[in-house]
């Protein structure tokens, strides 16, 4: 692991999320300073493309939509709003604002592009909202109330796979995807949701293992295997990998990746789904990989690269 680019965001307060777009050429960051910034980081550069103002509270997360829908970014904030931004001819503009939550919106996640333009939002009011673009600038809102009592902290979509025929699927006909997503919340639960025949979302699985708030969940990208994997991390310092070989998706088993000494804030899968990045409250980022015998092994400790940076800043601080 080597740092190839350092982007000075000029945010005036804590950064809470930083996400690259589909191609890895643009970086969106959001911060407690209420702004969302977009940088062009092509070829190691950093050009501020847009500074999006519109939130009235700290912005927690940003999420890029698939490029087939154009350049679209969703952001969510403590101000209870979700804003969907769109670039038109080089100008970023607010496209849609969702104000249906009663508390801080903590997480946004776009569904796989195959499903259409759907955004899941998790909020501290305990609800999860699903915003579906229905054309003509209209968005259909479905709200799952009380998905997680006292707050939902994270949402993550399952990759688009067809059950039963996970590897080979007949081409030509439109595959019958099963829409599923996972959420984690302050009730220490990881919940799996799928859509019922009547179009309602239902939590068909509750995964219990954490003993404190679930801070983040991440559904691993599909790598063509029939196994689904979900990573979840918690305030209790534990990271679990949930796997399911069952095509119906009901038999989940948990494996503890590691117990950290501090809260684990964030988990992220690599695009190829074989590496998990875990970031914790001790400002540490570790990378984990499943070995051939199924054990999760820490392959890198990124803190080394950045500790230098943080000590420098501490040093500067001491001088002042």
């Amino acid at each position: 692991v080597s740092v190839i680019n350092t982007v000075d965001t000029s945010h005036e307060d804590m950064i809470h999320d930083a996400q690259m777009d589909y191609y890895g050429t643009r970086l969106a960051t959001c911060s407690s300073d209420r702004s969302v910034k977009i940088f062009d980081v092509k070829n190691g550069g950093q050009i501020l493309v847009a500074d999006l103002r519109g939130h009235e509270g700290p912005v927690w997360q940003v999420a890029w939509a698939h490029p087939m829908y154009g350049n679209i970014l969703a952001s969510c904030s403590y101000d209870r709003k979700v804003i969907i931004w769109k670039e038109e001819n080089g100008t970023w503009d607010k496209m849609y604002e969702y104000t249906g939550h009663d508390s801080s919106v903590n997480s946004v996640c776009w569904a796989p592009h195959d499903f259409g333009l759907i955004l899941a939002c998790g909020s501290s009011d305990g609800a999860v909202s699903l915003l579906t673009h229905t054309g003509d600038g209209q968005w259909e809102v479905k709200k799952i109330s009380n998905a997680h009592t006292i707050g939902c902290n994270a949402v993550s979509w399952a990759p688009a796979v067809v059950p039963g025929s996970l590897v080979d699927q007949p081409s030509g006909q439109k595959p019958n995807y099963v829409k599923r997503f996972v959420s984690g919340g302050c009730d220490n639960l990881v919940k799996l949701w799928n859509i019922e025949e009547d179009g309602q979302w239902k939590d068909d699985q509750k995964l219990e293992a954490h003993s404190d708030w679930v801070r983040d969940v991440a559904w691993a990208p599909s790598i063509g295997l029939p196994t689904s994997s979900i990573a979840s991390c918690s305030q209790d310092g534990r990271v679990f990998i949930w796997t399911c070989d069952d095509p119906s998706g009901n038999a989940w088993t948990a494996k503890e990746l590691h117990k950290f000494n501090d809260v684990v804030w964030h988990v992220s899968w690599s695009i190829t789904g074989n590496i998990l990045a875990v970031s914790g409250g001790d400002n540490k980022v570790t990378l984990w990989k499943e070995s051939v015998d199924g054990q999760w092994v820490c392959i890198s400790d990124i803190n080394k690269g950045q500790s230098a940076v943080s000590t420098i800043t501490e040093g500067q601080q001491n001088e002042q």
């Binding site: 950064i15 960051t29 493309v49 847009a50 001819n89 009663d102 609800a127 600038g137 980022v285």
Partner: protein, 1195 residues
């Protein structure tokens, strides 16, 4: 938001933070009686289960007690090791401190009390655990005595202040609530703090604060700053919370005032020091930010006093409040909506009565009407300030190409300015497969350098297994060496030389003998004789024998004609009947004879004989002989024993013809694959290598090797690429990659490379001729992720069906989002195709050749239009212009060369078209923002073509101006060169602004386009206002001035007056106030042609002055003059000036033309003295100023 409720009048204690699940212990309160006047007391434990949506909490353990409770706390002593739930400590009457085992209470077991002591006298109201050493307990009671207990030895307490202190290992502060003021015997005004340092085994240090006449109801240590604490006053006259620092113990640091009555309880969140909870007798529960003194949350509470509030240590959003109304309520501070819970509560109350017929009236009761509590049904807001625990400080997530985006936030002390830290995001490259990458790089290098042989050689050297080595050997030979086939033979263990040697060693002996007996020529002779002598030759089966025996048989010659076989053969031969002779030989088993005869008997016979021979003869070698003789290689390949595949392959290598060679190899290979055992299946690969069949090789390899692991895949790809290259070398052309398996593997390989960050390399492996969506997607992604690195290539088609997502009508127009200036310049390539203005120009040019196309619409008075046409486009337009001007100036500048030609060929439309070129850099800048903000289809295009006739009437009037304008460069101003250039360039930049409005405006005036007008009317007001403003304002000063002014001043003059903001972000606010001004101006008619002379003259004079003026003061004067002269022009347009003023002005203008400023000034004085002051006051004074300046500067 209320989460749970317990119907108890009780003291409460949360389970420790480390305890899971979350419990709340309640002990019947000693201070009050409940409604039933029950004297029972109990210690109960409830579980906080968020999975249950109801308001109830599950009772997990209950213990009846003798005493009621004054204070309850729950400590983590003994927790962790054996699943223990810690210790609950209660303070009761009579100085009793009781320890309960929480575990046992939960289990419902006996011996729940693990310790009791009545050292105190009076009720024990203060209890606290040492947060660092959970075996240390401090207690305080009415007797003003404070004890510190060690739970490991509960019998004897320690008294702070005494000399014999046990060794406290406290690294910071003993976080005690050393209290209290309730008893009259304790000094209410003093608060004592004790602590002791670990190293210095010193006695307790005693501190005393003197909160002025304050009755202290609560005290809390700062969770992070060791010397700070807060005190709450229960005095109704002074309901404040004071924040103290022991370092400045004379007065409080801060006083938090908001409660209207005395404060009963406070609690400081351990999770976020900026959250301090307080409850007071005014029925309020407030949450403070003690650092700012701001109330950031107010709990919607009941009408009862809440005597105790506590944060839940484990779940920081949760707090509990015990009230005198007999309830303990659990709240969340994050807000939410309670409707669902409200309903369930109503149901519960309803059903608690017997709804059916409780009073025997024969009628069921109607459902209970539960009054809707306003505070609960409305949406509860979360904390005003985002709490610390929700602010994610660190993150890491992956992006395409194995990149990892990380950020962290260095922990800072709360008081320190956050800006000190650079807010950085790191983009790192994650490479997990270093070996894979290294090998891939090697391969890449080889592929580029074409140094294949060495590569193979090194691979052979390092090969781990025999098979691996042979594979590489094959690859190497086949392909990159001459005479490949014989090399293959060598590889298979059949070297020509060696075989020859072997044969000769086998034959050697007899040959030597022969040499000794006869010389070679002799032998030849004999051989030549052979055909003749065959019939008589002894039947010998082996050739060796045959040779040996010939000489011996020589002397005898006899033709047998007996009736035995020999005889018959002889007879048959004699009559020339070879066939029968052969037949005879064969039936007699004399094959050699038969064959020799057959040779003589002709081709057909020979073949037949051979066949028969092979049918009859079943020795090991025959099938080989048979195949070789009959050239039926297929047979070898198809029927040979697979154990002999090497031999078969060798035979193929030796004999097979080039054209059928590869098919035969393939056949052999597939046989090996299908029929062979384990190792043979693998070795089929060798066959495929020989045949150069890449696809088959891959298939076979994939079948027999694990290939999903990166290194295995690398193994495969190395081979495949080598084979591929060799085929290319052989055939001299590029061999396209075909086959789905190969494509799949290469895609896999490419995506692996991509995941490791080798984007360019990955791209080179992607199969080109496929429509596999995964490949297309990967290519698209690879291409774009490389940014400019691959600019030379055509971007691949977008592999997804593009979905157009429009902006909905929901968006409030009042929230404009502005891009950064950098962004403004970016979009130039795209808008070129989209800008609708450009085509719109061309029809205009021929119609009014000498007029710059953009101008007429500006002057055209929209006679009918009352309201200015709303053109949303304009908001960003104008804002973009100034910021973009600097950026585009360079572009424009370079194109200036085209402009001078403009006046020279005014009528040639081809000539004028390029002159509108400079317009382009401006218009793209606008069009994007135009489309971004306008939810309606851009009206400019439909509106633009019809206007031509409309614009015509107005253009004649403006023509002179323009001609003047454009002829001017030829004059003095232009010859100045450096000055003239920028001014020219400026014309081109200022010219663009008018076009955008022309579209909409003309559409507005144009009768056919009424629909568009109506539609536009519906637009929100704030769009309409700014739209038209800039058009006239900007264009007006733009006409005359830019020619004379220097670039910087021109910017000021031209752009600044209309208030065009220099920063894009200022737009709306800036424009709105000006909306009235342009609303008038938009209706302006053109200046009557007879008076146009005035305008040009005056403007010219101002310009000349401007150029000549050295000091900024004069320039400012001139700027002002320019503005004020507008008043004059307005009046000219409106024909409101009296004839004598007009006459005077004309005279003045003529004098100015002649530079006779003295004369002009005197006329001026006359006019002023003879006219109505109000009519001329707006412009005459300034005209004088300008003339004076002009006179002084002598321009």
């Amino acid at each position: 938001m209320k989460l749970k409720e317990i119907e108890r009048t009780a003291n409460q204690a949360w389970s420790p933070a480390s305890h899971h699940p979350i419990f709340l212990a309640t002990g019947t309160s000693a201070q009050q009686l409940d409604a039933s006047f029950s004297t029972n007391a109990a210690l109960e434990i409830f579980e906080l289960d968020f999975g249950d949506p109801s308001l109830d909490m599950k009772l997990r353990g209950s213990l009846p007690t003798h005493n009621r409770f004054h204070k309850l706390i729950w400590g983590g002593f003994g927790m962790g090791s054996d699943g223990s739930s810690g210790v609950i400590v209660s303070g009761g009457d009579n100085g009793a401190v009781t320890l309960y085992s929480a575990t046992k209470v939960l289990a419902g077991g006996k011996e729940t009390i693990i310790g009791q002591n009545e050292k105190h006298s009076g009720p024990v109201r203060a209890l606290d655990f040492n947060p660092f050493q959970n075996n240390l307990l401090a207690t305080g009671a009415n007797d003003s005595e404070i004890y510190i207990w060690d739970l490991n030895n509960f019998s004897v307490p320690m008294t702070p202040g005494a000399n014999s202190q046990p060794d406290f290992s406290i690294n910071r502060v003993l976080r005690n609530k050393q209290v209290q003021s309730i008893s009259s015997r304790v000094d209410k005004k003093k608060l004592k703090c004790y602590w002791q340092k670990l190293k210095l085994n010193s006695p307790f240090i005693y501190f005393s604060l003197n909160p002025n006449r304050m009755r202290c109801s609560g005290m809390e240590w700062h969770p992070e700053v060791a010397t700070q604490l807060v005190l709450a006053s229960e005095d109704d006259r002074m309901p404040v919370i004071q924040m103290w620092d022991l370092r400045f113990a004379t007065s409080p640091l801060k006083v938090l005032e908001n409660h209207t009555k005395g404060i009963l309880s406070i609690c400081w969140s351990q999770a976020d020091p900026e959250l301090l909870l307080s409850s007071a007798k005014d029925n309020k529960i407030l949450c403070w930010n003690p650092n700012t003194g701001e109330v950031i949350y107010e709990l919607p509470t009941s009408n009862q006093w809440c005597f105790d509030v506590q944060w839940c240590p484990r779940s920081p959003v949760v707090l509990s409040a015990a009230a005198f109304d007999g309830r303990i309520s659990i709240y969340s501070v994050m807000g939410g909506n309670l409707v669902a819970q409200q309903l369930s509560q109503a149901d519960k109350i309803s059903s608690s009565f017997n709804n059916l017929d409780p009073f025997g009236t024969g009628q069921p009761l109607p459902p209970l009407q539960v009054p809707q509590h306003v505070a609960q049904t409305t949406v509860v807001q979360p904390l005003k300030k985002p709490p610390k625990w929700i602010r994610q400080p660190v993150g890491a997530c992956f992006a395409f190409g194995g990149k990892l985006i990380t950020f962290d936030n260095p922990k800072a002390a709360p008081q320190q300015a956050q800006q000190l830290f650079p807010r950085q995001v790191f983009i790192s490259q994650v490479t997990t497969e270093t070996q894979f990458l290294q090998r891939s790089n090697e391969l890449q290098a080889v592929l580029q350098s074409s140094d294949f042989i060495n590569y193979c050689q090194s691979k052979i050297r390092t090969a781990q297994s025999e098979f691996e080595r042979s594979v590489w050997n094959f690859l190497k030979k086949v392909n990159f060496e001459q005479d490949a086939r014989s090399k293959f033979l060598n590889l298979l263990g059949y070297s020509k030389e060696e075989v020859k040697k072997k044969i000769s060693s086998c034959l050697g002996h007899s040959l030597k003998n022969k040499d000794q007996e006869t010389d070679t020529s002799d032998l030849e002779e004999k051989l030549q004789d052979l055909p003749d002598s065959t019939a008589g030759g002894d039947a010998s089966t082996s050739s060796a024998d045959f040779f040996d025996h010939i000489p011996e048989n020589r002397p005898k010659f006899e033709i047998p004609i007996a009736a035995d076989t020999d005889g018959l053969i002889g007879q048959a031969l004699l009559i020339g009947s070879f066939e029968e002779a052969v037949e005879l030989c064969l039936s007699d088993g004399r094959f050699a004879d038969a064959i020799i005869l057959a040779v003589a008997g002709g081709e057909g016979l020979l073949r037949k004989t051979q066949q028969k021979y092979f049918i009859n003869q079943k020795s090991k070698i025959t099938s080989l002989l048979s195949s070789i003789v009959t050239h039926s290689w297929r047979e070898i390949v198809q029927s040979c024993d697979l154990g002999n595949w090497k031999e078969a392959l060798a035979a193929l290598l030796t004999y097979a013809k080039a054209e059928e060679f590869s098919t035969l190899c393939d056949t052999l290979g597939s046989r090996l694959e299908v029929e062979g055992d384990g190792t043979q299946r693998v070795q089929a690969c060798l066959c495929y290598i020989c045949s150069g069949n890449v696809e088959k090789l891959v298939q076979c390899w994939v079948k027999n090797h694990e290939s999903s692991l990166p290194l295995a895949l690398e193994d495969l790809v190395e081979k495949v690429m080598m084979l591929q290259k060799s085929m290319e070398v052989q055939q001299g052309t590029e061999v396209p990659i075909k086959g789905s398996v190969l494509a799949e593997k290469l895609t896999q390989y490419a995506s692996l490379l991509a995941a490791q960050g080798s984007l360019a390399v990955a791209m080179s492996y992607l199969p080109a001729n496929t429509n596999e969506s995964s490949v297309l997607q990967l290519r698209d992604r690879l291409f774009h992720s490389q940014g400019e690195a691959v600019l030379g290539l055509q971007p691949p088609p977008f592999p997804f069906a593009q979905v157009q997502v429009d902006k909905g009508p929901h968006v409030a127009p009042s929230a404009p989002v502005t891009g950064q200036p950098t962004e403004v310049q970016r979009p130039t390539p795209k808008p070129f195709q989209q800008a609708p203005h450009q085509p719109g120009f061309t029809p205009l040019v021929p119609a009014q050749p000498s007029v710059q196309p953009s101008l007429p619409p500006v002057f055209s008075p929209p006679a009918s239009a009352a309201a200015p046409p709303p053109s949303p486009s304009f908001v960003p337009l104008s804002s973009a212009a100034p910021s973009g001007a600097a950026g585009t100036a360079a572009n424009v500048y370079s194109r200036v060369g085209m402009l001078p030609s403009y006046p020279k060929h005014p009528t040639s439309s081809p000539g004028t078209v390029p002159s509108s070129g400079p317009v382009v850099p401006g218009s793209p800048l606008r069009s994007p923002s135009y489309q971004a903000t306008n939810p309606l289809p851009p009206p400019s295009q439909p509106g633009f073509h019809p206007p031509v006739p409309q614009g015509l009437p107005s253009t004649p009037t403006s023509t002179p101006v323009l001609q003047h304008l454009y002829s001017y460069p030829a004059g003095a101003g232009y010859t100045q060169g450096p000055l003239g250039m920028p001014s020219l360039s400026f014309t081109s930049t200022t010219a663009p602004p008018p076009p955008p409005p022309t579209g909409p405006r003309d559409g507005w005036n144009d009768p056919p386009n009424v629909h568009g007008m109506l539609r536009r009317k519906k637009l929100p007001e704030n769009y309409t206002a700014p739209a038209p403003i800039t058009a006239p304002v900007m264009s007006f000063p733009a006409e005359p001035q830019p020619l004379h002014s220097q670039v910087p001043s021109a910017k000021e003059v031209v752009f600044a007056p209309p208030g065009a903001p220099k920063e894009a972000s200022m737009q709306l606010e800036k424009y709105r106030p000006q909306s009235q001004l342009p609303a008038e101006k938009i209706e302006r008619k053109a200046i009557p042609s007879e008076h146009l002379f005035l305008k040009t003259t005056f403007d010219k004079m101002v310009q000349c002055c401007y150029l000549a003026a050295g000091d900024p003061q004069t320039k400012r004067k001139l700027d002002d003059a320019t503005k004020r002269l507008e008043n004059l022009y307005d009046k000219l347009r409106e024909h409101t000036l009296s004839p004598n003023i007009l006459g005077g002005l004309h005279e003045i203008a003529h004098c100015i033309e002649c530079r006779n400023y003295q004369q002009a000034l005197s006329i001026h004085t006359q006019v002023v003295s003879s006219s109505n002051f109000s009519e001329i006051s707006a412009f005459m004074p300034v005209l004088k100023v300008v003339m004076t300046v002009a006179n002084k500067l002598n321009v």
